[in-house]
């Protein structure tokens, strides 16, 4: 049972094709990165995967559940971290986790145990009764991770998990994602940071203007496209796919 199977997914908003016929799979336990610049369609694709919006065409399966037909079952299997921290400023970290734990149907005992485990692991235990509004950016980001992991989902979908973070907080987020992967979680993330993708991802998908230009392991793609790094891979892949040649020619 594959965590994610995306088959010819298209998502349109009016006349705009935000995602145009993309297909890829995410394997169990891997970190898969969707790479692309702003406006490539990464967030739209992740929103469809998380069941927030419905696909226009194509099919998305999460642990064999079709996101269009069984969104509730899909959401129970995943934790979604939006590009914003997505936290309620007037709740405390403890209240945040308790609220989402209850929403996901955990028992009070499970919630108590899970809150302690997550908050202690992330170094937020002493801050558990402070309002989220007074936490630092790094503390909020950690809490966001805790929030999307409270129901212990096997799949995590992270939309630009390090965007807007300073170098220390970003590094902590990277460590956390690697730790999640080591514990067996499957991670699907989006980023426009090629360096970050190179460090984190076992496989990547190059997304540009709604099209998937290439999918594979970074090393294989470098070799296949004769590129030195992922940035070069990105430009060569979109040129090969015939997408936006004027932008692709920036790198020869």
């Amino acid at each position: 049972m594959k965590p994610v199977v995306v088959d010819d997914l298209t998502k349109t908003f009016g006349h705009v094709r935000a995602v145009d016929g993309i297909s890829f799979e995410v394997r169990s336990g891997e970190i898969f990165g969707l790479l692309g610049p702003n406006g490539a369609g990464k967030t739209t694709a992740l929103r469809v995967l998380a069941g927030l919006i419905r696909p226009t065409e194509g099919r998305v399966l999460v642990f064999d559940h079709d996101v269009a037909d069984r969104p509730a079952e899909v959401r129970a299997q995943l934790g979604f971290l939006a590009a914003e921290t997505g936290l309620y400023e007037r709740l405390t970290p403890m209240e945040t986790l308790v609220f989402f734990g209850r929403i996901f149907g955990l028992s009070e005992r499970q919630i108590a145990a899970r809150c302690r485990e997550l908050l202690e692991t992330l170094g937020l235990w002493d801050l558990r009764h402070r309002r989220v509004g007074v936490l630092s950016v790094g503390e909020r980001q950690k809490l966001s991770f805790a929030r999307c992991m409270v129901h212990d989902p096997p799949l995590l979908i992270l939309d630009e998990p390090t965007a807007g973070l300073d170098v220390f907080v970003a590094e902590a987020a990277v460590e956390l994602i690697l730790e999640l992967s080591r514990t067996g979680k499957t991670v699907l993330l989006s980023t426009h940071d090629m360096h970050l993708a190179g460090r984190l991802c076992g496989r990547v998908g190059i997304l540009h203007r709604g099209h998937l230009a290439a999918v594979g392991e970074p090393a294989c793609l470098r070799e296949e496209l004769g590129a030195d790094d992922l940035t070069e891979v990105f430009f060569r892949a979109i040129r090969r796919a015939g997408l936006s040649p004027e932008e692709a020619n920036l790198v020869r």
């Binding site: 929103r47 998380a50 959401r75 914003e84 709740l91 929403i103």
Partner: protein
């Protein structure tokens, strides 16, 4: 349902921790309304005292300056009189508010010595003019009575054996209590409806458009909550805050009316129950409107801007109710908001019929149901929810 209640609990927890919501919903009505009525009471009392002590400035025009009535009026200490020869000039000055009243005393031809034609010119819309009119009536009455008595004595009548031929006394029954009653029946419904909207607006915009603005909407949508549960949870939260705002405003207003010096003797449990029953579906409808607008708007600021016209409509309806323009009958009670406002007014006056209540309640409940269904439909729209 339990998930809906979880969301409701979360929203209300945030509401009680939001200073602005607490200030606008609880503290403001409890402090502002009593203070407003106290100030109004003090102002009305001061105005009444000023008018009671008023010595009107009167322009007097008469053909015969030595006529006993003219002399009597001109010398009456309750008036400040300036005698003018030109009637046109006097009336023009009165119209320009250079005098509180103009008095023209003439003679009726062939009517004998007691044939007077008296004209009083005042601005009836001005409290000063009304006070001057009352004072002039008093003075004229007294002077005419004195003249009649003198004539009768001259004709040999013993005035000690005769009762005055007539007696006229003007008693102004307007006092603070009656004014307070007017506030109670006319202004209370308006303020209550206004408090529903003021309670729902800010909070509703925050938990809908604010969710989009802060990006927390994705968090909520990625949980196991269905769209319907989210809409219902938010709707119940907005409704709760709106009703708290209404009840607290009602308490503040009643305290204010008591502080003003009025009575609320007509307000029994039954009347209060009817008022709340009539306001409940209206609060539901207004909460649903706030939810629709808040879901559509990108930001809280945008939501507030869209809600201002709705507030203006209610203000206009309220004003028409207060000045007595709106007095619906039968099916007219089914007109949204206006019908409910009028029905609450009738309930407070103790003259609401079951038919009128039925029209007002039925239409509000139907409207609330349609609006709530629309709110859910709007919330399901990806284009609206992720509108950037």
């Amino acid at each position: 349902m339990s998930e809906t209640l979880l969301l409701l609990h979360k929203e209300l927890l945030q509401a009680v921790r939001d200073r602005r919501t607490v200030l606008l919903t609880v503290l403001f009505p409890l402090i502002f309304y009593p203070l407003m009525f106290w100030v109004m009471g003090a102002m009305v009392e001061r105005e009444q005292m000023r008018l009671a002590d008023l010595v009107p400035y009167v322009l007097l025009v008469a053909e015969e300056l030595d006529d006993p009535l003219v002399v009597g009026v001109a010398e009456d200490p309750r008036l400040v009189v300036r005698v003018m020869a030109d009637a046109e000039q006097a009336l023009a000055a009165q119209r320009r508010a250079q005098a509180d009243a103009a008095l023209v005393i003439g003679r009726i031809d062939d009517a004998g010595e007691l044939g007077y034609r008296v004209q009083i010119h005042v601005d009836g819309g001005d409290p000063l003019g009304q006070a001057a009119l009352a004072r002039l009536r008093e003075v004229l009455q007294a002077q005419l009575q004195a003249i009649v008595s003198d004539r009768l004595v001259a004709l040999g009548v013993d005035m000690e054996q005769v009762e005055p031929p007539f007696s006229l006394e003007v008693i102004d029954t307007a006092d603070r209590a009656s004014f307070a009653q007017l506030l109670f029946t006319r202004m209370l419904p308006y303020f209550l409806v206004l408090s529903i909207l003021s309670g729902a607006m800010g909070f509703g915009a925050e938990i809908t458009a604010g969710e989009k603005e802060r990006g927390t909407i994705s968090t909520l949508l990625s949980s196991r909550l269905s769209h319907r549960q989210i809409v219902m949870g938010k709707f119940l939260a907005v409704l709760t805050v709106a009703l708290v705002s209404t009840v607290v405003s009602g308490i503040g207003l009643l305290v204010g009316i008591l502080a003003f010096g009025g009575g609320i003797g007509g307000l029994g449990l039954s009347t209060a129950g009817w008022a709340l029953l009539l306001l409940l579906p209206l609060a539901m409808a207004l909460s649903a409107i706030v939810l629709i607008v808040g879901s559509y708007a990108r930001t809280q600021k945008e939501a507030s801007a869209y809600l201002v016209p709705l507030l203006m409509i209610i203000v206009l309806l309220g004003i028409s109710l207060i000045v007595g323009v709106t007095d619906p009958e039968g099916m007219q009670f089914a007109i949204p908001v206006a019908g409910s406002l009028a029905a609450v007014q009738r309930a407070l006056e103790g003259r609401l019929t079951l038919g009128e209540a039925g029209w007002a309640l039925g239409s509000s409940v139907a409207l609330a149901a349609v609006l709530l269904a629309t709110a859910e439909r709007v919330f399901r729209s990806e284009r609206v929810l992720f509108r950037m």
